[in-house]
Symmetry: C2
Subunit: 70 residues, 2 copies
Amino acid sequence: MAKKIINNIRKLRFEHDEMTQAALAEALGVTRQTVAAMEGNKYPPSLELAFRLADVFDEDISYVFEYVNE
Amino acid sequence: MAKKIINNIRKLRFEHDEMTQAALAEALGVTRQTVAAMEGNKYPPSLELAFRLADVFDEDISYVFEYVNE
DNA sequence: ACTTAATGTAAAATATTTTTAACAATTATT
DNA sequence: AATAATTGTTAAAAATATTTTACATTAAGT
């Protein structure tokens, strides 16, 4: 049973004062395109960046990203 | 305040029937050197591999890897 | 309709991770 | 002491992730 990584970035951005991709990118220290790519599941971020994301949103990493059956 | 990723892989291997690095590598579908490198904090794994690790140990990803202040 | 802010997307370049291969060091067993 | 199993480590190549640059699209506000 194959699994895939999904993310709740868009949801979390809106729960955090409708933070824009650009504002999130700034907070993370990456480009806006990197945020867009992660959010759109173009490719997964590094573990380090995933943890920084969790920190910015003050959430557990396993809520920001989930590993679920396809 | 800089943070770093630490891991509990060695501990988890021993809690799981003293699983060797080779056996864990086999279960993950990676090489033994990759397991050794992760365990020795040579470099962090990809997010995908971190999730697979959590699956193998049946633990939450945030227990296998922790993001802590240095 | 026009302007601005926000987002989507893609190609090429750069950076990081994983693999491969090889050998050394350690630990356990006989 | 010798052997086997496990682990440590390193270098180079391969694979994958990330950044940059650039332009297109969408949504909101005036």
